[in-house]
């Protein structure tokens, strides 16, 4: 408590580095087998996707159904760059380029559409993602429906760790800053936010652009780990998958998204033997959460020891909170 730097080191950096080293050792010792590694990779990618969508939908209140579109841009950029420049520099460059193009597209789409009301944004973003997918399917340089393969694999545990933790921390830093609070104010009450000087369009576009950037980075992580990318992988259902993680964890809770990414990996594994009913259960899960616990696992709170014994009381009248 006395020295914030020491405290930060103890509570943040030490556990992080330990996690990294332990998993690294387990991988090398063969305790974490190949399947576990793929699962960890999927979880990491889902965390980055969910956290970045949460910034847009959970923190800023802008309902996006097009996150897979940003992911697609990042994936294709990374794949195209690394297939041409097969080196670590190409990989980093591709990852950054993917994020930047995704952010640019997010900016260009967000600028006009984010003035619209909530559910229109949902449809506009859905339309954007579909257009991206159709274009990728029809461009020559993206190799059409066949997609790109083989994409050189640069992602390993170290990269997953760095990129996932880095993305989560940057987004966390954002939401706990002036700009982040502005975004949250927009979610809470757009008219009130405007009345106290928040440039709501700017706030929304900023959050949307940053979210798009990390969506693109997640796409790059995906492309550089799974060898093959095809336009159809980035369809509407992918956007829904990401949304489910965010909703399950809680709109406006970063730790919720992280936990939900793990939880869904477990659920997905458990449902693996029942392909016929998997999607049915998934759909039911969505409906049941919305009816009985619309705030998700953690609501808009972060997981914290302080939260547990109800030190912070709050009225449970979420139903009365304003829509849109």
């Amino acid at each position: 408590m006395k020295n914030p730097l020491v405290r930060q080191a103890l509570t943040l950096w030490v556990p992080l580095v330990l996690t990294y080293v332990i998993v690294l050792l387990l991988v090398q010792a063969g305790v974490v087998d190949a399947y576990m590694q793929v699962t960890i990779a999927t979880i990491c990618i889902n965390i980055v996707l969910a956290v970045s969508l949460n910034l847009i939908t959970g923190f800023t209140g802008q309902f996006s159904l097009g996150h897979a579109g940003f992911m697609a841009i990042g994936a294709y950029a990374t794949a195209l760059v690394t297939m041409r420049f097969d080196s670590i520099v190409g990989f980093i460059g591709g990852l950054l380029l993917g994020g930047i193009i995704a952010a640019l597209v997010g900016f260009l789409i967000g600028l006009p559409t984010l003035r619209l009301r909530g559910d229109y944004i949902a449809i506009a973003t859905l339309g954007m993602a579909e257009i991206i997918r159709i274009l990728l399917q029809n461009f020559e340089f993206t190799n059409g429906a066949a997609g790109l393969s083989p994409v050189p694999q640069y992602m390993d545990w170290t990269w997953f760790f760095v990129l996932t933790v880095g993305s989560v921390m940057l987004i966390r830093n954002f939401v706990r800053s002036r700009q982040g609070r502005d975004a949250i104010a927009v979610r809470e009450d757009e008219i009130a936010a405007e009345s106290i000087g928040v440039n709501t369009t700017r706030s929304k576009v900023l959050a949307f652009t940053i979210g798009a950037f990390f969506g693109g980075v997640a796409g790059g992580m995906y492309a550089s780990y799974f060898y093959v990318i095809k336009p159809e992988q980035f369809g509407f259902l992918k956007s829904i998958d990401i949304l489910v993680i965010v909703v399950l964890g809680g709109l406006g809770s970063l730790s919720g998204s992280v936990i939900a990414a793990f939880l869904l990996a477990i659920i997905s594994t458990l449902l693996q033997p029942f392909p016929g009913v998997r999607m049915i259960l998934y759909a039911l899960l969505l409906i049941v959460i919305m009816i009985f616990r619309p705030q998700g696992l953690l609501g808009n709170r972060e997981l914290s020891l302080r939260l547990l014994p109800g030190l912070r009381k709050r009225r449970r009248d979420d139903a009365g909170t304003e829509a849109a």
Binding site: R117, G127, M128, A323
Partner: protein, 294 residues
């Protein structure tokens, strides 16, 4: 010229389907401001009910159409009561996510029972396979049926909304639910009725498509559902004439893009139209600006 006329006939038939689906979207949106994502899947269920009636029960086209509409009516009301009503006071995002959930539930439950593969309506009565050559333009009986049934249903809908008590209640609730409640209108029943009407139309559209294309599958509702929604937005969501205008416009646009440019880009163009409309006239062609109450 002949080709253009032919394409417009094609577009008219397609547009009728979109218009029928769009009506359900627009009525539901008008009354509870919900994009009912499951609406396209109600249309799919309608197509399967029609299939079951015609292929397995050997019923005629008209009987099958009526039964499919009836089943979808019930389905629409059940969806509303079970999934949406408990969320009447929730955030819009919550309801929208629920709607997506319902949509997936219908699709995959259907897939679980009938499989993912395409089903066909089989051999139709010979009179439905006729076609007419009008000055070089080929019009099939099925196109005539689609356009005819759609127009008939739209007229009936207009009558219900304009002239009946429950139709007036619908309009009242969509104007101001609280005021309607004070005037003794049962808001819940009116909302259910709106779902019933919209779903019946979607069910009819499902059977018509089944007959027209002779092929149905559990995911057939996704894309037409989205396009019908776009049609509703294009015309001005919440407005019944808007849905008609939008439906026929999208149908024609799609046909002309395939006919004179490339089928590759039909879907992209439709989504592009959506984004342009949202940017330049978010209230749609026939809509007027209303701002949130402060």
């Amino acid at each position: 010229m002949e080709q253009l006329a032919q394409q417009l006939v094609n577009g008219l038939a397609l547009g009728s389907i979109y218009a029928l689906i769009a009506l359900g979207y627009t009525m539901v949106y008008g009354i509870i401001q919900l994009i009912n994502f499951a609406h396209g899947d109600v249309y799919m269920v309608g197509a399967y009910v029609g299939y079951f009636c015609m292929v397995h029960l050997n019923l005629g086209f008209v009987e099958s159409l009526v039964i499919a509409m009836a089943v979808c009516t019930v389905l629409g009301v059940v969806i509303e009561r079970v999934a949406y009503k408990p969320l009447r006071k929730s955030t819009r995002i919550a309801v929208l996510i629920t709607a997506i959930g319902v949509s997936l539930l219908l699709e995959y439950t259907m897939m679980f029972f009938v499989g993912a593969d395409t089903r066909t309506y089989g051999v139709l009565p010979p009179f439905m396979e006729q076609s007419f050559n009008v000055g070089g333009v080929l019009i099939t009986m099925k196109q005539i049926i689609i356009i005819g049934v759609s127009v008939l249903l739209m007229v009936v809908l207009q009558y219900i909304v304009r002239r009946t008590k429950v139709g007036k209640a619908m309009r009242a609730v969509s104007q101001d639910a609280d005021a309607a409640r004070l005037m003794g209108i049962s808001v819940d029943n009116t909302i259910s009725f709106t779902f019933a009407l919209g779903s019946a139309l979607a069910g009819a559209a499902g059977v018509l498509v089944g007959v027209y294309y002779n092929a149905i599958n559990p995911l057939m509702g996704v894309l037409p559902g989205l396009k019908a929604f776009i049609a509703a937005v294009f015309g001005g969501i919440g407005l019944i004439p808007g849905a008609l205008l939008g439906g026929y416009f999208i149908g024609a646009a799609e046909t002309l893009v395939s006919g004179y440019w490339s089928s590759l880009y039909t879907d992209a163009v439709v989504f592009g139209i959506l984004i342009l409309v949202l940017i330049f006239k978010p209230t749609g062609l026939l809509g007027s600006n209303v701002r949130e109450k402060v």
